[in-house]
């Protein structure tokens, strides 16, 4: 249980970072922390005590296996988050070219 709570804390740290940080790069890093927390959560729900990897071997007769499906989900979501991060960083770089700053309080041409 303590692991789940720590995982939630990690998630909230990330959300806090995205909401309150002023620097574009720090926002991107906070977003990474949120993704780590969610991936950790998916791995945690797949974990079984004393479970081994779910690959069939001749002769072996394991009693408890870990759940392989969330592991597959994690690899997929890592790829998705890679795409997000690359996109975010490239947009941040182009923003720096235009505004000469990473500070979001100075990047405010849109209003209304």
């Amino acid at each position: 249980m303590i692991l789940y709570i720590l995982c939630l804390v990690l998630f909230l740290v990330g959300v806090y970072g995205v909401i309150s940080k002023k620097n574009l790069l720090k926002i991107i890093i906070s977003f990474g922390i949120i993704s780590y927390a969610v991936n950790l959560f998916l791995i945690l729900i797949a974990y079984r005590r004393d479970g081994i990897f779910p690959i069939y071997e001749k002769g072996a007769n394991p009693k408890v296996l870990v759940d392989p499906l969330p592991q597959g989900m994690v690899t997929t979501s890592i790829v998705v988050e890679l795409a997000f991060t690359v996109l975010l960083v490239s947009i941040a770089l182009r923003i720096y070219e235009k505004y000469k700053t990473f500070d979001i309080t100075k990047i405010r041409r849109l209003k209304g």
């Binding site: 959300v15 995205v18 729900i45 997929t76 941040a92 182009r94």
Partner: protein, 496 residues
């Protein structure tokens, strides 16, 4: 065997466009238009097939049994959404033939557009909760890139905002999917619907909250709406038409309906929440729109307000309310994309989006003036056009459900919308010309064609509500949404 082609065609088109169009410029346009036409035809064919079978059609990848496979489900509601996406995508693609010529690297635009289309179609037809997340990401990543396509300062700023908020909401959805998997040990939506035990108490409400936040952010329901005006007004006009016309509805409204009506059985708590959020969204959107002087930004705020109508109709929970919501969903996607295309054509001709700098354009841009008049009358609910009927149904449904305050709010929102669009008409197409420089005297053929196509649809879609045709299409969709058991039964059988 029709279901996979909805994802396959745009994906293959995107691949071929990147492969061939660096050398030959026209290949990209031709491939994209061809894919758009094929998807629209397939959408209509799928509706006919579903009508023939009179129930959901199931397609399982690799013929595996259901809990272990990825499955696609076609039912009335899915086909209805697919047709809507097809119509708007085709109109936007035809519009962008001329409009996008002022940008460079056009093959990238068409590739991203096709990827967005693949994501949206996949999102609609999938029957698997994790695949829902994946297709959502495909559509969203393409949409982020398209919002920032022009690479001007404002566009990049809007794209960054949209990316951060959008991906945050996606992470919420992923967390909810993980918790649902932990509860039910399955990812199939119908299977989850079977296995979910409604009195799980706290944890289920946590999932409700996560999903409502995640999809509510996509649909721009009011506490989560801040990104929409920036993103939708900064994108190129055909992309705005796509985003406002169908993206917020597929990723937001469709997902809310699918998850809350089919996966969980709808509860009065959620319905009341929908009602209140819908009413707030409706009023706040239209009030904010009245303050705007940027043409596209004004339209974006109206998108928020119209989403409020749809959520309000859903929240009533009666068949009539859902009918109004579904019909308004279709109507709004048509007239709102038409309005965005109008804004794009005015921008094409004059180079500005500020209402105060325009004036007297009605004579020069005759097709844009006429079609935008039709769209304005539709969105503000003036009788012969489609918007009137869907709003009337929602208001009647509110009266029928004895929610008089919400009926009053819906009527008030409609009046404020009319006032706002009278302002647009007066500033842009009537009044004195301010002598702004015009980039071209007449609009090109493709821009006019796509606008007239949508304007004709604005009038024609009234047919959907006529007795006789209503039973064939809209009533079936409403029945599909209401009847959860039919969706859950696909697990035990299904054809195609």
């Amino acid at each position: 065997m029709i279901a996979p082609y909805f994802v396959l065609i745009p994906l293959v088109a995107a691949f071929l466009i990147t492969l061939f169009s660096r050398k030959k410029k026209n290949v990209a346009v031709c491939l994209a238009i061809f894919a758009g036409i094929a998807l629209l035809i397939l959408g209509i064919v799928s509706f006919v097939l579903v009508s023939k079978a009179d129930g959901p059609l199931l397609y399982t990848l690799g013929n595996w049994k259901i809990p272990w496979t990825i499955n696609f489900v076609l039912d009335y509601f899915t086909s209805f959404m697919l047709i809507t996406i097809g119509i708007i995508a085709l109109a936007s693609l035809v519009f962008s033939i001329n409009y996008m010529t002022r940008y460079t690297e056009l093959w990238k635009f068409y590739t991203l557009f096709m990827l967005m289309l693949a994501g949206m179609n996949g999102f609609v037809i999938t029957g698997d909760l994790f695949n829902l997340f994946i297709f959502m990401e495909i559509a969203l990543i393409a949409a982020y890139a398209l919002v920032g396509f022009g690479c001007e300062a404002e566009e990049l700023e809007a794209a960054f905002k949209y990316t951060v908020i959008g991906s945050l909401s996606s992470i919420f959805v992923l967390l909810a999917v993980g918790i649902l998997y932990a509860i039910t040990s399955t990812l199939n939506m119908a299977d989850i619907g079977h296995n979910i035990i409604s009195n799980r108490g706290f944890i289920l409400y946590f999932v409700y909250g996560l999903l409502l936040t995640g999809f509510g952010l996509k649909a721009a329901i009011v506490p989560f709406h801040a990104w929409l005006p920036d993103a939708h007004s900064s994108a190129p006009a055909p992309v705005s038409a796509m985003l406002s016309g169908v993206l917020i509805k597929t990723l937001g409204i469709y997902a809310l309906i699918r998850v809350f009506y089919h996966v969980f059985s709808i509860s009065t708590t959620v319905l009341n929440l929908f009602l209140i959020l819908g009413a707030i969204t409706l009023l706040l959107g239209v009030l904010m729109a009245k303050l705007q002087f940027d043409f596209k930004r004004l339209l974006a705020f109206h998108s928020i307000s119209q989403i409020g109508y749809i959520i309000l109709g859903l929240g009533l929970g009666t068949p009539l309310g859902i009918l109004g919501a579904v019909f308004h969903l279709f109507n709004h996607s048509i007239f709102k994309s038409l309005l965005f295309l109008n804004a794009g054509s005015v921008e094409y001709a004059t180079g500005t989006r500020d209402l105060r700098e325009m004036g007297g354009l009605g004579k020069q841009l005759k097709p844009a003036a006429v079609t935008s008049m039709i769209a304005s009358l539709s969105i503000s609910g003036i009788p012969p056009f489609n918007g009137f009927f869907s709003k009337l149904i929602i208001i009647l449904a509110a009266f029928q459900a004895k929610q008089f305050i919400f009926a009053l709010v819906a009527a008030l929102g409609s009046i404020l919308t009319l006032a706002s669009f009278l302002k647009v008409q007066r500033y842009v197409f009537y009044g004195d010309p301010h002598g702004i420089e015009r980039k071209c005297e007449k609009l090109p053929l493709c821009i006019n064609g796509s606008m007239i196509f949508l304007a004709v649809l604005c009038v024609l879609s009234v047919v959907l509500i006529l007795p006789g045709i209503k039973e064939l299409i809209l009533d079936k969709v409403v029945e599909t949404i209401q009847n959860r058991q039919v969706y859950l039964n696909i697990i035990s059988g299904g054809q195609l």
